[in-house]
Symmetry: C2
Amino acid sequence: MGAVNTRGAAPKQDRSRATRQRLLESAVTCLAEHGWTGSTVTVVAEHAGVSRGAAQHHFPTREDLFTAAVEYVAEERSKALRSPERHGDVDVDVDGGGDADGGGAPGTRAAVEKLVALFTGPLFRAALQLWVAASNEPQLHLRVTKLEARIGRETHRMAVELLGADESVPGVRETVQGLLDMARGLGLANLLTDDSARRERVVAQWELIVREALAR
Amino acid sequence: MGAVNTRGAAPKQDRSRATRQRLLESAVTCLAEHGWTGSTVTVVAEHAGVSRGAAQHHFPTREDLFTAAVEYVAEERSKALRSPERHGDVDVDVDGGGDADGGGAPGTRAAVEKLVALFTGPLFRAALQLWVAASNEPQLHLRVTKLEARIGRETHRMAVELLGADESVPGVRETVQGLLDMARGLGLANLLTDDSARRERVVAQWELIVREALAR
């Protein structure tokens, strides 16, 4: 656990950071698996192997825990988008297509696949549970709405970059937004059943359509 | 119950049908407003102004009530899609655009707006609550999955018709599917905040993109 010269402070900080991290990961897992109602602080603490008291030391309320968890999810999703390789959230085939259209930006196909992958993994599933909970729980609503606005802007910015899109061209901003809306809808279609075969065909077709729309 | 010739029967049947209808509408309202957890049979019966016993006469279990409610939602959404005028689920501007591209099918703009409207009203909101509940409640999962598959096929068929799309052309099927995925994603984006201004711009741009893609 981390570098220390004598004892105490550094390992304690490391342990605290590790506990926090475990709680956040457990919160995401519980939210994706049991939904908001089934994900109490007690359930999450137990899943993380942490005492309820320790959990409350890090996150005084259930809302604190889950907004931190979704922020954590958002950061993980950003990291996945920024990484040049395939990321771990879902299997993404970034081979082929990538070099075909040249230029500095990664290929449209790889970009579209990465963006869609963002919305189809367990991280999206946890975020979805929180959105739906927030629509019924007033104490979550404002927090999740603010968080979502920030994440939405960040995702859009990254999508523009990945696609190498020029937003000064009329319509391009809306093209990118619609593509992200489609990715979100594909994520929702994947909630109850494995939709990957259909999704692959839809993504292949829409990659062509988006490429043409952006080239105009 | 059943048929009687003297008195009581017809009004009794009517009353029974009216009670059933009120229960279904209340189930949808409760689901959209309080989510699955907050929508017990007792809560729904109270909202409908019906006794708990009468509610259970119509729907023996909570799962029966809510799958019937979502079936009802699906039928209402189908009706809305089929109706030639603007429908009541959300405000849809079907003026303009509709005649611009001529042909027998209603204009692409009107079609796209109608399809998107399907996913942004209270009916979609109720369906969303049920999907998320089904992802965590094994006793709902199979029912909702089957129902969704049927609704999905029906929606796709209607979308093809509204758009006047020719699915024998390669890629057209996937173009229509991707458009429906986008509509679903727009619905989800509308869950926590009123997204209508942004949505209008995205729909205007994507209507152009879809029109071109289908014309090829």
